[in-house]
């Protein structure tokens, strides 16, 4: 299925968000996540099933003012 990760289309078979992060090499990374504009807490990623067309955001700490 096709997932939109940070605005870019990604082909993935990951059943849930935790699996997708592992697939992207970010399983242990210091990141926060959302699906379709809703926050998904770290502890809920494994129960968060992915569907074709889901929009996933993965964000990390960055400089800010």
């Amino acid at each position: 299925m096709k997932i939109i990760v940070n605005g870019e289309a990604v082909e993935s078979a990951a059943p849930d968000l935790a699996a997708l992060l592992t697939e992207l090499g970010k399983g242990e990374a210091k990141v926060a996540t959302s699906i379709n504009e809703a926050f998904v807490p770290r502890g809920a990623r494994g129960q968060q099933a992915l569907r074709d067309g889901d929009r996933v955001e993965i964000v990390a700490p960055r400089q800010g003012g």
Binding site: A29, K30, V31, A32, E57, V59, A60, P61, Q63, G65
Partner: protein
């Protein structure tokens, strides 16, 4: 020194972490500024890079309190989701709430800001709203649960200083017990000193230091300015007057 949501902060200077020439200069500017709070954001990482982790390690070494922002959010919904992600990522209930209403001025959207602030306060966040000096908006933000207010001095990144002294002064008079921070628009230490002289608790700035030719020297300048201004505010300044009044005694002058 300011107390934000029960936490004592050892400095009246709050500093942003963006736009420095290098991580080393950022770190040295922080040390020289004595800032007690660093603002940070959260953003997408490109590809497989781990820039976020490297940046986070640098911030942790600074040993300051971290205030994540919702910079770039243009709606309450977007800001609330960003705040929830920030809380998990940075492990703090503090959030510098920005809901931008205008592209040219980056003016806060008062309506979206109030909506997001109410929602986040209800979820246990400790909200630092980036707001205008509008008295009614500030009253509503306090009613919504905000225990800090952060009115702008001037639009973000302009360096224009305090555009509405009257508005900032009346805000101080109306909220004697709420910590007030001038956030954004400062370009020079004298402007930060002025904010302190008005009785403000702290200033938050980024570009003025990061974009100076010598950020480290400018950080020292701001550190001294906020200290000078705070001392002046505490010292009960004289009232200005229109007519001259000699400071040297008139009596006893030689008749020549």
């Amino acid at each position: 020194m300011p107390v934000f949501y029960g936490k004592d902060i050892p400095s009246r200077l709050m500093l942003g972490t963006a736009q420095y020439p290098s991580p080393a200069i950022l770190a040295e500017a922080f040390r020289q500024s004595g800032a007690g709070i660093a603002t940070v954001s959260l953003r997408r990482e490109a590809g497989g890079e781990r820039a976020g982790q490297a940046f986070w390690s640098l911030i942790e070494e600074l040993g300051v309190a971290v205030l994540p922002n919702t910079a770039g959010c243009h709606s309450a919904r977007e800001a609330v989701t960003t705040a929830r992600m920030a809380r998990e990522l940075f492990e703090t209930n503090w959030i510098k709430l920005e809901v931008i209403g205008h592209a040219d001025t980056l003016q806060p959207d008062p309506f979206g800001l109030l909506e997001a602030a109410a929602q986040l306060c209800a979820e246990g966040f400790e909200v630092f709203p980036y707001c205008t000096e509008d008295l009614v908006l500030c009253e509503r933000l306090v009613e919504a649960g905000c225990k800090v207010l952060m009115p702008w001095g001037a639009p973000i990144g302009t360096g224009l200083g305090l555009n509405n002294i009257y508005g900032l002064r009346s805000l101080r008079a109306h909220f004697p017990d709420i910590p007030l921070v001038v956030d954004a628009g400062l370009g020079l230490p004298s402007q930060a000193a002025r904010a302190m002289e008005l009785g403000y608790d702290a200033v938050l700035l980024n570009t003025a230091v990061a974009r100076a030719g010598d950020p480290v020297a400018m950080a020292r300048g701001f550190a001294r300015a906020v200290e000078a201004g705070a001392l002046a505010a505490k010292a009960d300044p004289m009232d200005p007057r229109d007519m001259a009044a000699p400071s040297t005694p008139v009596l006893g002058k030689a008749f020549l």
